[in-house]
């Protein structure tokens, strides 16, 4: 006679020690008893083998090996990886994005630590006492160099490229605020006049009035390097200085290299001409022409580099209206710099997230597929007899 079916709950109760109510339940408990006695424990040989394993080696949990080993089971490695991944991503993003300047914030960033006028004074050979080294700063040029630069106004004779000296390209950015549109217009005109008076010229001028009293004037001017401090001082008087920064780029090595190339080519040309004088030939003429062309290119490149050091580039922005001037004190400037830094770092983290989220999603999908496949395989294995 078949026994009535027992429910899973009743089975659990019986296994936990509940009193059986009928023959079927008694039968079940008897079967459980037989199961318990079916398999004996470990034989002596196996017991000896396991005892011979001894104790595992101790791990010094204070050291890196102990930290890596962890005490929280198999998941410790995965957990550590999940925790470390965002930090690694942030570090990677900062390393990749730092060269692009995204972390430097606005114009009131570290480059403005050194007042632009100081850098300009150093570049022109003026009094730079106390100025610390800038980002690409080099020792100030000597007075002779400064004089040579002062003399090298546009259209004048070029200095001979025989002795290597310090040659620096100066790029400055200044933002000035004025109250009204009328002030914007007059300030722009005054700035351009000042540049002309200093021997410079305006390369580009953009003037826009989006709405109401809001206006913006952007000038890119070239000023003789020796007079850029005067230019910046003049711009400061147009309104309230909102930001200022200057960068020095040392082109000495590049000019020296170009000069060396030109010298070598001159020597080559002299030798060829001497040979042609004694043994003229069409091939020698062709070689001479080729070297002359190369020498001309090298001299042009050298002159272009020198010209960059003779004239400083100043980006002047004058704003009015909603971008009206604020009183700038050190505390506010420090706060602004701090905020710029923070926003730079946040931007880097966001860029890292944008970069890594698709990869993370792909890895998560692959991981989920892998786990699903493993689960199916386990079920298949355990389902066999």
């Amino acid at each position: 006679m078949r026994s009535p079916e027992l429910t899973p709950e009743r089975v659990a109760e019986l296994l936990a020690g509940a009193t059986p109510n009928d023959a079927a339940e008694l039968d079940l408990l008897a079967l459980a008893g037989r199961l318990r006695t079916l398999e004996p424990g470990a034989p002596d040989g196996l017991r000896t083998r396991v005892a011979a394993l001894g104790e595992p080696p101790a791990i010094d949990r204070r050291g890196p090996a102990g930290w890596l080993a962890g005490r929280r089971g198999r998941r410790s490695g995965r957990r550590a990886a999940f925790l470390a991944a965002p930090a690694l991503a942030a570090g990677l993003a900062i390393v990749l994005l730092a060269p692009s300047g995204i972390l430097d914030g606005s114009d009131s960033g570290p480059r403005a630590k050194q007042p632009a006028a100081e850098l300009a004074a150093r570049a022109s050979g003026g009094d730079g006492a106390g100025a610390t080294a800038g980002l690409e700063a080099a020792p100030a040029p000597s007075a002779a160099d400064a004089a040579a630069v002062d003399q090298a106004v546009p259209g004048g004779a070029l200095p001979p490229a025989t002795e290597p000296g310090r040659a620096q390209e100066l790029i400055a950015r200044t933002t000035v605020g004025v109250p009204t549109l009328e002030d914007l217009s007059s300030a722009t005109a005054r700035a351009m006049r000042q540049v002309r008076d200093l021997g410079g010229f305006t390369v580009r001028s953009d003037y826009s009035v989006p709405s109401g009293e809001e206006g913006r004037s952007e000038l890119v001017v070239k000023v003789p390097t020796g007079r850029v401090d005067q230019a910046l001082a003049g711009f400061s008087e147009l309104g309230t200085v909102l930001s200022q920064e200057a960068r020095l780029r040392d082109l000495t090595a590049r000019i020296t290299r170009r000069a060396g190339v030109a010298t070598r080519l001159r020597g080559e040309l002299r030798a060829l001409r001497a040979r042609a004088a004694s043994t003229p030939s069409p091939e020698l003429d062709a070689q001479i022409a080729a070297v002359e062309r190369r020498l001309a290119r090298a001299l042009r490149a050298e002159r272009a580099l020198i010209a960059r050091t003779e004239l400083a580039t100043v980006h002047l922005t004058i704003t009015s209206g909603a971008e009206a001037p604020e009183t700038d004190n050190q505390f506010a400037a420090a706060l602004r710099r701090g905020w710029d830094r923070l926003s730079g770092v946040l931007a880097a983290l966001l860029a890292a997230a944008v970069l890594l989220v698709p990869i993370g999603l792909l890895l998560a999908a692959v991981g989920a597929g892998w786990r699903s496949w493993r689960r199916r395989e386990r079920s298949l294995v355990m389902g066999r007899s």
Partner: protein, 182 residues
């Protein structure tokens, strides 16, 4: 043969402090062997797998956290993984060598001839799946609670309850069939 009540329940409560590996191995060796014997239905294989289990356990002993569970649960989790790895490799070997399925299964599933009196139960157990035998081993033989058995077997507690019920019903039917045949 009468076996004493599972020693791990009496002598291995949730430890307040971290026990020594030697002590844990000595206390739980029988339980591991019996678990594997029920799952594999191959005594020599079960003993080999038990040995491999403890070799793995001693390597990973530093990862055992007493706060997460009893040592026996941790050991049986390792034993299960060891057995699964063996079954997977066996399956791959069979596919590779392309032996006749019935012949190979018969050879590996046949229990070792022993002088155990319960041949009927042994034969009936051989007709259950590994998963069903595992649940019987955990809940009936080793008397784990449903939650711990679920943790070892990688199932939910309700799956353990229903799986155990199915296994017992099936076993009783097989035993009943044999009696009728007899």
């Amino acid at each position: 043969m009468i076996c004493a009540a599972p020693r791990h329940l009496e002598t291995n409560p949730l430890p307040a402090a971290r026990p020594s590996f030697r002590e844990v191995a000595e206390t739980n060796l029988d339980a591991v062997v019996r678990y594997l014997a029920h799952m594999t239905r191959d005594r020599p294989l079960a003993e080999d797998l038990a040995s491999a289990t403890f070799e793995r356990a001693i390597r990973d002993w530093h990862r055992y956290d007493p706060r997460r569970g009893r040592p026996i649960v941790w050991l049986l989790t390792i034993a299960r993984q060891t057995a699964l790895d063996h079954f997977r490799s066996e399956r791959r070997r069979r596919d590779r060598e392309a032996r006749y399925a019935a012949e190979i299964e018969g050879a590996s599933a046949a229990p070792e001839p022993r002088d155990a009196p319960d041949a009927a139960l042994t034969t009936a157990l051989a007709e259950l799946t590994r998963g069903e035998r595992e649940l019987l081993a955990l809940r009936v033989v080793l008397e784990f609670e449903t939650a711990e058995a679920a943790a070892i077997a990688g199932l939910t507690p309700s799956a353990v309850s229903s799986g155990l019920h199915r296994a017992l019903v099936k076993l009783r039917e097989k035993m009943g069939d044999r009696h009728e045949v007899a």
